[in-house]
């Protein structure tokens, strides 16, 4: 895998998020997007005049509208500017930040606005995802974004009792985080003593994947403004620096259907390469916070092992000892993660945005204790797409 060093450093100078909700009947798509764009511009103290290029994206087939980048100009502010539309499934938000990072690092643009959005209440999420499958075979079989595969794998490896407990513990921890985040779409106020009840009685979706385990379907938008080092330092007292990002994509669908992966997962592959090329030997020690794209509690619990290159049940012990909460060894998703809010085209960008806010120290009520110098954020989409983004407080690597 080739790796080209950046031409110049890139800093995050503005972050905007709408509130995340199950129903935004009060705004249409461009109106909702404008809320995030305005929030990001205000955060950066900039106007659209300062923006050189706009990258904009969401999932295909989710709202059943086409070329939204054209009529969304009212909200994106892209009128008369260079603009790109990107769509890469659940990873879209991460791809947007990655593209903006590359566009600025390359020298093409000094300041780029990246916008991800989704209004999942306007479409049919599972129907949309199903229609992205191969129409000659998989479309008839695929169950949208829902899969039991992570649960099957975990139960086979760790036994039903431990695996189900860990998944639900992870779920409740995420809800406790979500309750601290005023922007959460779903924050139930779950408590530890509800474990048994939820394991037993939450409505089943697929196999051992229950409704409580699954991410929400949200409306919302996220916007981020990235600038080159020179501009970033002028525009912002404390830009958050994007040290590096990696994108890994495996396009084969059918392997998802089996209960063991024939190859290293894209998550582990991405993590291994990213850490190697940045000289990080102990990621669990190096990073101060991790914002993970966790589509379900089963996946979230499982993927910790891959992202931190852990072995055996190390990831389970982190969860069981609640080391993934604020103040723990590796706080994961202080925002509540994807289980708390999932406007899909924005979701992966929200991971980067929330990680960056933790680095700035102004995340709000869900700011974790202590200084956050090094953060990492992940994106997930499609059949196995991974993006990892490394953020730094100081330009000192």
């Amino acid at each position: 895998m080739s790796f080209r060093e950046k031409n110049r450093h890139v800093g995050i100078v503005g972050i905007g998020e709408t509130r995340f909700s199950s129903h935004r009947e009060d705004v249409n798509q461009p109106e909702m997007i404008r809320e995030a764009v305005k929030d990001a511009l205000d955060d950066a103290g900039l106007t659209m005049d300062d923006i050189d290029c706009v990258v904009h994206g969401n999932m295909e087939l989710f709202e059943m509208v086409h070329q939204p980048d054209l009529w969304h100009t009212l909200g994106t502010g892209a009128r008369g500017k260079d603009a790109f539309r990107l769509t890469t499934g659940g990873t879209t938000g991460g791809t947007l930040v990655g593209a903006a990072d590359n566009l600025v690092a390359s020298g093409m643009y000094d300041t780029v606005l990246a916008i991800g959005f989704e209004k999942l209440q306007e479409g049919h999420t599972t129907g949309g995802i199903t229609n992205m499958a191969d129409p000659l075979w998989a479309r008839k079989l695929q169950s949208g974004a829902l899969t039991d595969s992570a649960a099957v794998k975990a139960i086979a490896e760790f036994g039903a009792d431990r695996a189900k407990r860990v998944a639900m513990l992870y779920r409740i921890i995420m809800d406790k985080h979500a309750c601290l985040n005023p922007n959460s779409h779903r924050a139930f106020g779950l408590d530890w003593d509800q474990m048994e009840d939820l394991m037993e009685n939450s409505p089943p979706l697929i196999g051992d994947l229950r409704l409580i385990h699954m991410c929400s379907q949200s409306d919302g938008a996220c916007a981020m403004i990235l600038s080159c080092e020179k501009k970033a330092k002028q525009q912002c007292d404390h830009p958050v620096w994007i040290r590096d990002h990696i994108t890994v994509h495996r396009e084969e669908t059918l392997n998802l259907c089996v209960n063991h992966y024939p190859n290293e997962t894209t998550h582990r592959f991405a993590a291994r390469h990213l850490y190697e090329r940045n000289g990080i030997t102990a990621p669990l020690d190096y990073f101060d916070v991790f914002e993970m794209y966790d589509p379900s509690a089963w996946w979230g619990a499982d993927w910790i092992r891959d992202f931190f290159l852990l072995e055996g049940d190390e990831h389970y012990r982190l969860i069981e000892e609640k080391e993934i909460m604020g103040g723990g060894k590796m706080p994961i998703n202080p925002s509540g993660g994807v289980l708390a809010a999932n406007p899909i085209g924005a979701t992966a960008m929200v991971r980067v945005a929330e990680a960056a806010k933790q680095v700035r120290g102004n995340a709000g009520p869900h700011q974790i204790p202590g200084t956050v110098n090094h953060a990492i954020a992940s994106s997930f989409g499609g059949t196995m797409w991974t993006i990892l983004m490394m953020l730094e407080k100081e330009l000192n690597w």
């Binding site: 129907g127 000659l136 695929q142 169950s143 697929i206 084969e252 259907c257």
Partner: protein, 182 residues
Amino acid sequence: MEEEMNVKVSDSLDTMADQELIVLRKTISVDQKFATGPVMGKFLTALKDKRILAIQCPECGRLQSPPREMCAICRVRNREWVEIGPRGEMRMMEYCYYSSPDPLTGESRETPYGAIGILLDGCQKEEVFWHLLRPEHLEMVEMGIVMGDRITRGSRLRPVWAEERSGSIDDIKYFEIDEQAR
């Protein structure tokens, strides 16, 4: 503006708290045509003769069914065809309680249903075949598990072929428990 008198500015409209919000519900329905291409076409055509074909990678030897033109791992063109199954072993099931829309109609599908991975005879490891389980057998099948060297055998399954076959996924109605294997 030509007729200034037609223009009046009002602030009140937007602030109506109990405003009626318009929501349009529709189903988009678009007819589609897909070219199978020679590789998928050969595989689908064989289903008419109740034969399941796989394509083999010349380098790593793995089988893919439905076939793909390439082995994406070795990045080479697949060349050899082999016949697999049609019987096999149950390996994985998505036991679906949740109904997603049928792509053909937009209507919700009947639940529960089982989307299954079958290790057809002649295949190994991850070379599973993806289809549906006969709904009456949902509660009766055993799922096979492979965890490293630990292998648990799943139920033996056989395809139930459609009377009329046109060279599509529907040529197999579903897989069912193979009574002969008991």
